[in-house]
Symmetry: C2
Subunit: 242 residues, 2 copies
């Protein structure tokens, strides 16, 4: 799979950082893209910046979609009048943290960047634990996105380049992703999951926090992020975030 | 096909206005959506507003993507340092007025609006005359978009609603669209095509102007827009644009 360039969608969380480290060694040039989308947990973008630097990507693109997503709204991740749910993810069904068409919008904008930079591969960290609650993480969603990128782009139109949507984690559950990430050397102490940060610390109560805690517990490991934050006197690790 | 709601992508040009009038009578509620995307010919949005009013749509949504598309750039429609080509469309191949992934971005954002308003049908005025130059107008592009909207949306995920991407003009050439539009009663005097307006008038030299002129000539008709603009002393028809 050593065939040139890839673009990794990097949110700053466990999944996308594992997808990023998975890409290392497989591609000659790795680009990362992170979206500002008026998300409540904008702090994740700061974590994404550290991760991109530690992974040694060729370029980290931070793309601002705040204006667009404020117009879409309709999600407790964006609209501050809606409350982020507490407790674990429900077994099945859309929750208020779902953002309409978010991943599809990220995917086609990634496609525009790929056209400009002539990148043929795009890597998404979608995975099995997301599927019951988020439609735009399913295998059929990834296939449809690939078809759209290929039919709607000048890369495939003029130069018969075949764009590939790669989803290396699509069959893994959260704790399996952590296992893989540990093998790959992902610095999980610099990954962010919490939907509803307080004082630059995870809330501990939202579905993302609970899933993260339970997944590390399943592996008998203390969450390296919590460990790092507890060790530090300062809220921010100034060196890392410099 | 009297099955509820539809959303029409309305640019203010010949094709999308014909698609809008095609929808009248077929759906109980018609919504239109128009995008500001930092396009040089932003005047088309004013025309779209008139058309939406004349068509009697339930709601005309004007969605601002200028901030997003300024970041994408890479097109003479957006980047003012690039020149809009003069002369007819080339027989084949991408031209500088192509905007990377534009229609796909419009499509998925339309999808977000459809989720919010529970609209099942979306109508695109893509057509055969665009296919040689714009990848994101091809039949396979429309099918891929439909698959993406269905796999990435909460409408199909939770409620087994099947979203349909309708492309009534996909096999028609520009002059055939005008023929159809005339039968449907489209007020072509309030449609805008020119990529490079000067003083609120069409330039007459860009590919869009030339294709429009040739298509009306083929039908032996004077372009109603030109007729309207020539009749008026004022640059803007103030009543219509009120």
């Amino acid at each position: 799979m050593n065939n040139g360039k890839c673009l990794v969608l990097l949110s700053g969380g466990i999944d996308s950082s594992t997808a990023l480290w998975w890409s290392i060694g497989k591609f000659e040039e790795i680009y990362a893209i992170t979206f500002l989308y008026a998300q409540r947990h904008e702090i994740e973008v700061e974590y994404a910046k550290i991760l991109a630097r530690k992974a040694g990507v060729k370029e980290h693109i931070v793309f601002d979609l705040s204006h667009l997503f404020r117009q879409i709204g309709s999600s407790s991740l964006i609209d501050k009048s809606l409350e982020v749910p507490k407790g674990p993810y429900p077994e099945k069904g859309i929750i208020s943290t779902y953002v309409p068409m978010r991943n599809s919008i990220f995917g086609v904008i990634a496609g525009a960047v790929m056209e400009k930079l002539e990148i043929e591969n795009v890597v998404f960290g979608v995975h099995a634990s997301d599927v019951p609650n988020y439609p735009d993480t399913r295998p059929e969603w990834a296939s449809a996105l690939e078809a759209l990128l290929n039919s709607g782009s000048s890369l495939s139109f003029e130069r018969s380049i075949r764009i590939r949507v790669l989803t290396p984690l699509i069959n893994l559950k959260k704790h399996q992703i952590i296992e893989l990430g540990l093998k790959l050397g992902v610095p999980f102490e610099y990954t962010w999951s919490c939907y509803s940060p307080k004082d630059q610390k995870p809330c501990g109560e939202c579905p993302a926090c609970i899933q993260r805690r339970e997944s590390f517990e399943k592996l008998g490991i203390k969450d390296p992020l919590i460990e790092r934050l507890e060790k530090k006197e300062v809220k921010y690790d100034r060196e890392a975030f410099a």
